[in-house]
């Protein structure tokens, strides 16, 4: 466990694309940056045995997730020469086509930014106590399974 209070990554509802644009714009003042890598998760309207997913409802064990995210963040900063890393994950009902995950890494050179972003996404999906409930268009739901 880390000593400092973990940084919050959770936002209620979808991530607004305009917010992503604003996040990028804020990095113009850091002129040591040469490359940014961004991953966005978008809710897909999957068809499962004839039923269409209309939304995913995300819940989390937040205290544990934020401790784990702090651990992931520290490991990634120790491994890659990043200037910064930002992570946002949605909670609540996120409709098809909306953004539910935003991972953003920056570095002097492209390779560390890209590798760190990919590793962060993989670790978020595998290690954060977050659950998605796929809500069907008509009625019913099923629990999402990560590949």
């Amino acid at each position: 466990m880390s000593d400092h209070k973990p940084k919050n990554i959770f936002v209620q509802g979808p991530i607004n694309p305009a917010f992503i644009g604003e996040s990028i714009a804020k990095h113009a003042s850091n002129t040591k940056i040469g490359g940014h890598s961004i991953f966005l998760g978008q809710v897909r309207a999957d068809e499962i045995s004839g039923k269409k997913v209309a939304a995913i409802e995300y819940t989390s064990y937040q205290e544990m997730a934020l401790e784990k995210m702090t651990e992931i963040r520290e490991a990634i900063f120790a491994k890659y020469p990043l200037t910064c890393m930002h992570v946002y994950h949605s909670l609540g009902v996120i409709k098809e086509g909306e953004i539910c995950l935003f991972v953003f890494t920056s570095s002097a050179h492209r390779k560390p930014a890209i590798d760190a972003c990919t590793e962060c996404v993989e670790r978020i999906k595998a290690e954060l106590p977050v659950w998605g409930k796929e809500l069907f268009e008509d009625e019913g739901y099923q629990w999402k399974v990560n590949q």
Binding site: V121, K125, P129, K144
Partner: protein, 77 residues
């Protein structure tokens, strides 16, 4: 001795609640047996157990006011 128990994801379909308090369990094995008696459907489910936010691998002694969580496979992102 009271233990706070948290349920997440599909496990809440079985328990009908996301948290409850259990008395008298002194370790995680006792606690799981008590939960299986109360919610027989849990025994067939795949989940990890955490004590005070740390995932455990073996039977773990519980302190007063421990928080135990049952964590089905994660599906964030």
């Amino acid at each position: 001795m009271t233990t706070q128990v948290l349920f997440f994801g599909q496990l809440t379909d079985i328990t009908g609640t996301s948290s409850l308090k259990m008395e008298e369990a002194t370790d995680t094995d006792q606690l799981k047996q008590a939960l299986y008696s109360q919610f027989p459907g849990l025994a067939a489910k795949n989940f990890l157990v955490s004590v005070n936010q740390q995932v455990i691998t073996d039977k773990t002694k519980l302190q007063p006011n421990s928080t135990v969580a049952l964590l089905p496979p994660f599906s964030g992102g």
